[in-house]
Amino acid sequence: MSDVAVTINGQEIVANKGELVIDAAERHGVYIPRFCYHPRMKPVGMCRMCLVEIDTGRGPALQPSCMIECTPEMKVDTQSPVTKKAQDGVLEFLLINHPLDCPVCDKGGECPLQDQTLTYGPGESRFVEEKRHHEKPIPISDLVLLDRERCILCDRCTRFASEVAGDPLISFLHRGNETEVNTFPDDPFASYFSGNTVQICPVGALTALPYRFKARPWDLEATESTCQGCSVGCRIAIQESRNEVLRYLGVDADPVNWGWLCDKGRFGFEAVGAGNRLRDPLVRRGDQFSVVRWSDALHATATAITAALGSTGPSGIAVIGGARLTNEDAYAWSKLAKGLIGTDNVDCQLGDGLPASAVLGLPKATIDELCAPGATVILLGPDIKEELPVLFLRLKHAVQNDGVKVIEVSSMPTGFTKYASVSIRHRAAEANEAVRALLDGIPAGKDGGGADARVLDAARALVTSGAPLTVLLGRTSLSEQPDAVVDAAAALVDRVPGVKFLSGLRRANVHGALDMGLAPGLLPGRTTLAAAGGWFGRVWPQVPTQTGLDTTGILQAAAAGHVDVLILLGADPLADFPDRTLAEQGLAGARTVIALDTFLNESAQQADVVLAAAGFGECEGTTTNIEGRVSVLNQKVTPPGSARTDWIIAAELARILGSDLQLESVDDIRDEIEELSAAHRGLTVDVLAKMAYGDGVVVPLPSEPAPGADGDGDADGVGSEASDEAGDEASDEAGEPETVGADLERPGPAPIELERTDALEAPPIDAYSYRLVTGRRLYDQGTLVSQAGHLAGLAPGTVLRINPYDFDRLGVAEGTTLPLRSPRGLVEIEVHTDREVPRGTAVMFFNQPGADAARLIDATARVTEVRLETGGPS
């Protein structure tokens, strides 16, 4: 990287090769005004506000500093009379048609046009004619309004839409004085990322419906935090006035979100202060809930737990959930459940993710590694546009600008298909066959999961090209078990040296919850009961010895009457567990159900005790994203009513149970995590205090040896089901941790081994059945969406998509509504063709209004099979 010496305002500075003048100047403390230039988008030179005098040896000339790269011996003058005159002129022209309705403009007070007019403008205008008039404002989507009079035609929103989001649904229309930004008639700017245009519009032309006329910017107080809309962990500013959260803005975290947010994250703020938040604890009396005092609710909970311990013992108690919690809350609950109550029937996932060992037992990659220039990426997980939207933006950017090549392995077309170099379409539940065929060619007697041989060849060429390979690994479909994906991951890690994995689990802090041990067999710090039980036993009252049940196992046990107390830790299995039938049976079969939640969701309505929890923005803590990046969540508002933070509920419960978690503050918890967790070593209270504003850090911190799957792959795994043979696992586990016990040595990193499944054969399928593939959409009927006023109602519903070849045999018209039956249930659904869906596969979406996939899915089947009923011979 050669440096370039340039002179700015008489001062010598060193710019990077290729750096734009506007950036180099800013880096050296000289701010050049601008409207159209945005550091995360390509420059266009639309607005001319950044004109400065630049001399490249041919004498000074006015040039747009956002379009000019620094060259050796360039002289830049940002304060010369000529520059000043240009700035005056540009602003006078920009204001010719601008309505100057600042008093009623949302942007007033934080408006670059206002501010730069004050700093650089002429102060008066010679324009006395009539200004341009437009209808004020027009909706361009369900969330964004456009006031064309205010638009200065900077091209930021339109460039964002096409360059960044890939949804060029807004465009400049007409010409000259008539130019305006608009959509095609009746074709709204329905982008998942539309809110970003509101944030980057340098004037008040684009406003967001949820924030419009709610506040003046100078009345807002802000703090930084991390979005909990999904697990990407975009950095945001929470802005509040009078104890009400009024908006989120994207903060540019270079390793994560680059300032962008998806609309679900951005407008999810409306759920924080929603009117029907749980304010106080509730206890069931017959069919009704009564509001009770906290001590009554906690005593009722403790009584149920004590009774369960007395009758069934710890295994009669189970905890589902934890991804809503902060890391500190999750640690407190892990300590309460595992260390104090002694149960290992704890799972922060809802049967819709991957086995913990597939998340923690593989070499981990960061987002930057996934998007590294020239890298190859395998997408083996959900549709990232729907589930991890800003990760979609990052990877799309990498493909379009940095030569990243993507191989998509999927049974359905996704939002990434058009950016992928290769899309391998395989039959549902046969991702492993496709990936093995990708690596080795299609073995004799098999067909590579139905994937096209030429496509596999193209993918193999990419994988063997020598470029670094990263796999985004997640749950491809909710209606099949994750075994095929885990087996595919095992094949990749065995066969491709240096391959790394980025988790594709989607729920907010699920990675933090896993790191805190909220999964069967795990303890905080990415270690197992077997490996670190002794170490934790030093501080915790006890540590379970037997690996417990995962959520599916817990619900099955509950349905069979083996669960006395089921604690829902911010989980709504009725809505989120893929198999509704099993979730219903489980909730009905558990003797006592305790729900800690922010809303009285469907599952909480079945509970016996409901404990009102503080939510996002209402408590301090840290969170962990898909990369394992820990960042700080700051509190901005107070929780509603008497709602309490989850860790305080855990500590109080422990006290009533006659014990003590010995955790009295968030800092106490941070100290204990730092002390006990191998993954969080060095993440002290002091370090975290310095991270209150900032990008966060990936744990384990670099100075520590990374725990990871460097073990020698013990192939006869125990399957993805929770093993009840924990003893075996203990002896299988290489005794990595240094002696723990009496001395104060910490345990070393205890590698988690990927739990492998035996060679899998998907069950054969008859000619009239389809394997069901169930994906998610960004907007569904989940709590965050349905409680955020302006997002509620955006869930699009679902149809069933099948291959035209299969469709033709049905003998019905496109769009006909037919009964769709699985062994679990029956729904009515509109059927459409999609040639991207492989034969024998049927695709629908989860948790949507109308046809409910959860009524069909059998969580115990390797893959749910469905049939369409055409009502007799046709």
Binding site: S162, D167, P168, L169, I170, S171, F172, L173, H174, R175, N182, T183, F184, P185, D187
Partner: protein, 212 residues
């Protein structure tokens, strides 16, 4: 009617195949759509968007930039009278006034029978022939008020059908590039020099050396 007809889809595909990127065919396709319907309809733009793989908003963005694409129905004959300096000095103000009287409409409007649309336009590059006008972009020079009346009579009676096709038709004979003369869809970044340069390659020279 408003989407491209099957026949025109065939023409559209041939046009698209002339360009390295389908999007480059936008303008000729908009002309095709306008030729079919007399103006560019929303459905036409949606259809074009599908054909070249962009969004309808992008098609509208391009289409609305150009005055010659009409987004609303216009008359069979669009009469553009130049109002710029040369024509104005030679009487175009009077001509426009006369045209309004004769056609019974103000500039910018269409006669109720849908035959004529009257427009007053900027320079049409016929200053030597002022005052000039165009009917469906065919020039008529040095037009007097009487001449204008005669022209309107002739158009209305169909006497000029051979010279002036209905609005939207650029040329009666469609340009057709034989396969072997086409540049083909070679992406520009794959090109080192214009594709046609290879078509008439001279025989390899004997010395074959680089000029020094």
């Amino acid at each position: 009617m408003a989407r491209l007809t099957t026949e025109n889809v065939g023409v559209a595909k041939e046009i698209i195949s002339r360009y390295p990127r389908p999007k480059s065919a936008l303008i000729p396709l908009l002309h095709l759509s306008q030729e079919q319907d007399g103006y560019v309809t929303e459905e036409g733009m949606q259809h074009i968007a599908e054909l070249v793989g962009v969004t309808p908003a992008e098609v509208l963005g391009t289409c609305s930039f150009y005055e010659m694409f009409k987004l609303e129905p216009v008359g069979r004959y669009v009469v553009n009278i130049c109002n710029n300096v040369s024509c104005m000095l030679c009487g175009s103000d009077e001509l426009i006034h006369h045209a309004e009287q004769r056609l019974g409409i103000k500039v910018g409007n269409t006669t109720p029978d849908g035959t004529f649309t009257l427009e007053s336009v900027e320079c049409i590059a016929a200053c030597t022939e002022a005052p000039a006008l165009q009917v469906n972009y065919r020039f008529f020079n040095k037009v007097s008020t009487d001449g204008f009346d005669g022209l309107i009579d002739d158009l209305a009676a169909g006497r000029l059908d051979d010279d002036v096709p209905a609005h939207g038709t650029l040329a009666r004979v469609r340009q057709h590039i034989p396969d072997d003369r086409r540049a083909g869809s070679i992406p520009p970044e794959g090109q080192t020099e214009p594709a046609w340069m290879h078509l008439n390659e001279p025989p390899a020279s004997a010395d074959g050396g680089e000029p020094s």
